[in-house]
Symmetry: C2
Subunit: 488 residues, 2 copies
């Protein structure tokens, strides 16, 4: 035992002994710049003088935090589910009550406080399947292929966990877009997978080019076993909406190259640009015929956090799996059972999202009015964002066709690049930190999402209320001009 | 590229290509027997004749599913939080409204639909810290050491993820009790850690013996690097409550052997036996003086799912970390930020659990009445369970001092053991399957939790309502006698 004697005072868990994969994890959306924003807020409260009076957080797609209002019907049903005595309250319309009763009847013991089955409440999975069928114009969806999740992130990480195996050159490689949503790179780092970058084409409105997919795949095959292709559509952080043709090409590519497809479709209602339309990977896959629909393995993801509802706090979501090996499916179900079940309030909310009021029901008009208003506001803000930013010399942004973000390219003068390097910072981190300190605006540097070498960007949400968003954009303009002048 | 050509028709994700660690995961609480129970329920609905009319599920600690009622105050506050228009509803007492307002003010944008900070809402963490201080008689708790979690399971897996590293003989070994709650073995399998079993002493009411810890540790050091010691107190599945002395001995052992302590204390209010009392590891650690309290690394876990509230569906919980290396703590916070935040409804509920109505508030009396009733019922059922089971020749059960389970030892005749082996089943699985098919009672075989070789057990919850629990126990008695006779 002598060689195992404890060293008194030495900790068990240190930077040296900890899981080294965790050390490699990065998640810029909540990274150092956001922590500094929180500090500045405390300083403002303590009366520290700043050139601004509040920090505006445009770093994360957190709708309600930016003032977006919840959908009344959803919240009414959830309130009744939580406290069923409200069933006799006259303030609630009949459809709210009947919907609440329907959900409660599907919960063990009639309570949201019970565990659900690990895959999620059966009724909710049935409603999700019917929603997918309506959305995809009749293409069949099987509730047995639906897994409710703790937000889309949970589903994505779970599927990646299933897929990552092998060592050395047979280690699973996962293709992700650059720029990407950093959940992907973080999960791959944690799971020790090989990240394979394919670059979106900024010059062509962040579109996806099959030639680039091929290039990335061919190169990756020299050192790992590429097995998975991840797509985010509509795009985060880039806001593009993929054409039907592009999706078809991607599916054909995946089929030819034997890749498992993961389609992150959490922004499926967030499409603003004329001529753009959301097509689900599932629908296109089936429209391509049985050669594809009977074979290509696909997992697609949705969430209660985005679209018009923006209910991030509930951590609701689902994934639909297709063509999964039946034995593997048993393993997947077993894996999710260890965490017991996704939050039942999130499952109940997911049910309402996929099964909103119908035209003959009393809550319908208010529901449609609220949904239309929120989506129209977002469309207006998407357009305002690209318009104002494109007026600034040195900033160029693609149209925000969908999702909730712009990812403009910013020109950073060589002197500023040098100054950043002296600080040991990425140039766009240097830029964003200054923007935060001088203007109180919290954005995320492009380096947190990945970008072509020598290009710089930031991600900004379009979520602040219109009047505030305009101020933000004008402040960015003012800052950018000053910054450029300072470093020329 | 020739060696990478896809094999048409072959799936990407198969039993051979999938994550091999996931294959090793087992979670008996929701294993094959529970799936069979669900099938039987469907068969009953379809009119298939059975020797029973309903399946009684005593396999999982799912309180509300078994008819336990939620705490009115908790549900009222949550309903108002979800639908703040209810603030003007006269049915709600003032303390409900003020509590809801307090929680909403702590949420970004005043909505439960916003993300919280990744560590959890600051106000809730403050309330948790104050709760711990009251519980532990004034020992200080720092809100910065509190992490809100998605149920206790999430916290436990997160800490294990941090702790598991190294390869071969330097791979992290984690000591867990046998019998154990299978979340532990499942998480260790998934993370590829080395599981180190230490056996609880069934003859001494499932107590923990330091000699046995030493034996297990010494043996494990020959092939791995033991770094973590996990304790469940009150015990799951074994229902024992550890004495203060035992906890002190465990802490001393961990300090001497340089082990990171993980204390699963989700049943802290579930203590029924005379002379038993819950002592938190944190409190005992501080009472042992600065030599220990300034050095031993501890993570302890709590949940909204158990105790008197039993709100499993909300997936609420917290962990408190102590003496964590500050750099490691930064890594932990980064890791949890990737999943954005725990469900905010679960966080709000956790806040109410740690901060229930006070004596001068209008909801106090009802709250105390409901809590007392639930705990008294559980105590009554704990006692009834051990009493009836111990009447059966061939079943012997320790007192259910705490938690929600009994783990009786069952005598399985050699002929039944042979019959099970012929079926390729563990003898206690064979027993439980027969019990399910013949009596409609769903329990979990002891083999799913671990037990000494040649001994057999099952885990049963004490959660069914008294009159039903009595039926369950009588049916087990009847079944056991018949089974024993059949196989003698």
């Amino acid at each position: 035992m002598a060689d195992h004697v404890a060293v008194p005072g030495k900790k068990v868990l240190t930077m040296d002994t900890m899981n080294q994969n965790v050390k490699k994890v990065e998640y810029a959306v909540r990274g150092p710049i956001v922590q500094r924003a929180a500090q500045i807020e405390v300083e403002l409260q303590q009366g520290v003088k700043k050139p601004f009076t509040e920090v505006i957080r445009a770093n994360i797609g957190d709708c309600h935090a930016m003032g977006q209002k919840p959908i009344t019907f959803f919240r009414q049903v959830l309130a009744v589910c939580l406290y069923p005595d409200l069933l006799d309250d006259n303030r609630f319309p009949e459809d709210v009550k009947s919907r609440a009763q329907r959900i409660l009847q599907a919960c063990s013991g009639g309570s949201l406080g019970s565990y659900s089955s690990s895959q999620g409440i059966e009724l909710v999975r049935q409603d999700v399947a019917r929603f997918i069928e309506r959305r995809d114009r009749g293409i069949r969806s099987d509730p047995e292929n639906i897994y409710l999740t703790t937000g889309a992130s949970d589903g994505i990480v779970t599927m990646l966990k299933m897929l990552i195996s092998g060592e050395g050159s047979s280690r699973t490689g996962v293709m992700i877009s650059i720029p990407q949503y950093p959940l992907y790179s973080a999960a791959l780092a944690e799971l020790g997978a090989v990240q394979i970058n394919y670059y979106l084409d900024e010059e062509a409105c962040w579109s996806l080019d099959i030639g680039e997919l091929k290039r990335a795949l061919t190169q990756a095959r020299k050192h790992c076993a590429p097995r998975v292709l991840c797509i985010i559509n509509p795009g985060n952080p880039t806001g593009q909406v993929q054409s039907r043709q592009c999706i078809e090409d991607v599916i054909r590519f995946a089929a030819e190259e034997n890749l498992f497809l993961m389609a992150d479709e959490v922004y499926q209602d967030n499409v603003y640009a004329d001529g753009c339309e959301f097509h689900s990977f599932k629908k296109v896959l089936f429209e391509m015929g049985p050669e594809y629909s009977s074979r290509v393995e696909l997992a697609s993801f949705h969430s209660t956090s985005k679209c018009y509802m923006g209910e991030c706090g509930f951590r609701g979501g689902y994934m639909e799996v297709l063509n999964l090996d039946p034995e593997v499916k048993v393993q997947l179900t077993k894996l999710v059972s260890v965490r017991l079940c996704p939050p039942v309030t999130g499952q109940a909310l997911m049910d309402l999202v996929v099964n909103p009021p119908e035209p003959h029901e009393p809550s319908y008009q208010t529901f449609v009015k609220e949904r239309t208003h929120t989506l129209a506001e977002l469309a207006k803000k998407a357009s305002m964002t690209q318009q104002i930013l494109n007026q600034v010399p040195g900033i160029r942004c693609n149209p925000v066709q969908g999702a909730m973000y712009t990812f403009p390219r910013i020109h950073i003068p060589p002197k500023a690049v040098s100054a950043a390097q002296e600080n040991g910072q990425a140039p766009d981190m240097f830029y964003c930190i200054k923007l935060l300190e001088e203007m109180g605006i919290c954005l995320v540097p492009g380096s947190g999402f990945g970008q072509k070498d020598g290009t710089y960007h930031f991600r900004m949400t379009i979520l602040p209320p219109s009047h505030k968003l305009e101020v933000v954009l004008e402040k960015i303009k003012e800052f950018h001009l000053r910054f450029t002048q300072q470093y020329s």
